[in-house]
Symmetry: C2
Subunit: 344 residues, 2 copies
Amino acid sequence: MDPVKSPDQVTIADVARHAGVAGSTVSYVLSGKRAISEVTRNRVLASVRALGYHPNAGARALASRRANVIALVLPLRSGMQVPVVMQFAMAVVTSARRFDHDVLLVTSDEGPAGLRRIAASAMVDGIVLMDVELDDSRVPLLRELARPSVLIGFPADAAGLTCVDLDFHRAGQVCVEHLAELGHRQIALLGAPAAVYDRGTGFAHRTRSGFTEAAARHGMTAVTRPFEEGAAAVRQGLIELLDHHPDLSALVVQNEAAVGPVLATLPTLGRRVPQDVSVVGICPDRFAEQASPMLTSVPVPAEEVARQAVALLMSKLRDEPVPAATLLGPRLTVRDSTAAPPAG
Amino acid sequence: MDPVKSPDQVTIADVARHAGVAGSTVSYVLSGKRAISEVTRNRVLASVRALGYHPNAGARALASRRANVIALVLPLRSGMQVPVVMQFAMAVVTSARRFDHDVLLVTSDEGPAGLRRIAASAMVDGIVLMDVELDDSRVPLLRELARPSVLIGFPADAAGLTCVDLDFHRAGQVCVEHLAELGHRQIALLGAPAAVYDRGTGFAHRTRSGFTEAAARHGMTAVTRPFEEGAAAVRQGLIELLDHHPDLSALVVQNEAAVGPVLATLPTLGRRVPQDVSVVGICPDRFAEQASPMLTSVPVPAEEVARQAVALLMSKLRDEPVPAATLLGPRLTVRDSTAAPPAG
DNA sequence: GACGTCCGTCGAAGCGCTTCGACTTGTCGC
DNA sequence: GCGACAAGTCGAAGCGCTTCGACGGACGTC
């Protein structure tokens, strides 16, 4: 047991000396890029442990031209969807670690310049972009960036990009189909806040189109409207909606923040759930399970999406071909908030 | 306009050549660590822009022994508090960028080994640790790590550490004082889920102690109990609580997820807010404003806490002395959910 | 007018790692 | 028993940057 050379950091040279081999040999043991004899490998690994060696990330990045870091770009405007975004972020980190990568958290508030900086400085090998809008200013940049990237969500023009997302169009359909089977004929979609549609956020538009199309196919009467967040706004919206469409027997809610208020308000308007009106949510399972009654829902499988995104990015980093679009099939979980429409 | 040398990356040598100076001069222009004449500086900066130069992060880190990156360590168990955690994270990123630092997102699921790896590999210069528990296994590690760190939250033994947080003890007091002024005598604290107390999470315990102490000081009758999340659980909890303590005229709710259900449930139990019972929330302003009625609340100033944490860390990186504890004063915003108790 | 003093700039030496020949053995085929 | 070849290891050359000491010239001083 020598006293450690530098108090600051154990280098590969220290390990080499301790194990009685060349520095390059240590490197090859650690990377596995050349054959090393069993005995040497073990000796080296023992020294690594004995000295508590961790390769210097900067030096490694410089020499190998790989930082082993990916960027996760989040929207700064964190308005809605916060828990889902969080779930994504955590899952991206966990997935990346499985591939021995770390995650640099980047917000969009620096704008394209921020992305450019991160990419050009070789801080990261690849980029995962969240909360993509239909017409996203960061997207053209991505194409010219010369670093592989994966988008969570679909922009209007996805040519040349790799995108992953829940199939929201299908999700809209699935909700309608479930209600159709139960016998509902008059349904409504309570969507995201108007601002989200205006912003051209893909999932909101795609859910609506799936919803509308499936309703038409089943000969149902369907209305859709944006819904603001907040208990008071939800109550007001519901009153107006039921006033204009008193025969509605089912609602699809795509707005996490509105789920609770909707369920709380309906009974006060004389509509029991599910006897008088059925409710389907497009929201995380946690919300659905905590609601009362427990909500029939289509969750956004954040973890699965994140895992896929990271896996795709890793493939691209290895120059393997990947599919341009990955759409995850929605699963609808039936709980206590949906039933057949009232007899009348 | 030369054609760019390497398609891959513009180096400092390219800039130097383009500007007709030495590489070191470019470096000094960019870092400002030595005097450079106005004319040279401008020529260099022009070349930097013309070539679109961005320093290679790895090389810079290697040579300067500063990565210009800080680690943000989040709990993996993201159970409650998700929006607040998210707010913290975003604010940490934004604040760090002001100091020209980036943020590496780390989860606790690798355990101490993960922290050790990050620190030893010199990937980050410092660490911000969130969601600290009273007896946190990562804390002892932090002391031996030789990288500066700042905690958001307080462990039981904070010796030798730098901690920032809302003064939850005071927050509990402030809520009580507001209710005392209105004339309430019988109050209750609806706390975090039992698991959070069991885990020894500091803010929950400290709020409770502040609440209890202030109530005693004002001669009020005070009960406290953990509250689970979920609409049904809240309803059940409220029913039991009001059953045992029918004279309660005010509630303090420290559980974001319970705020909505509490407000929705009380009227169904024949208690109007605020005429029959007042409610104070300890929750983000967004929740309070979206509630109906709008909630008198003490927000957790996530952005301010994050900003402080980053600023403290930057001071430590510059070897400046910093206070061991930074407690932010709570502000109570009066809205529509509190009033004098009913006359009877 | 000779001498210290700055100011502004340069060249070179690393930072700790990966990677590319090249070299030394041992092994096999015939 | 000799060439061919593979397996295992080493040394050295960078990767792109920062930083230190040195150096030339402009300036002020006595």
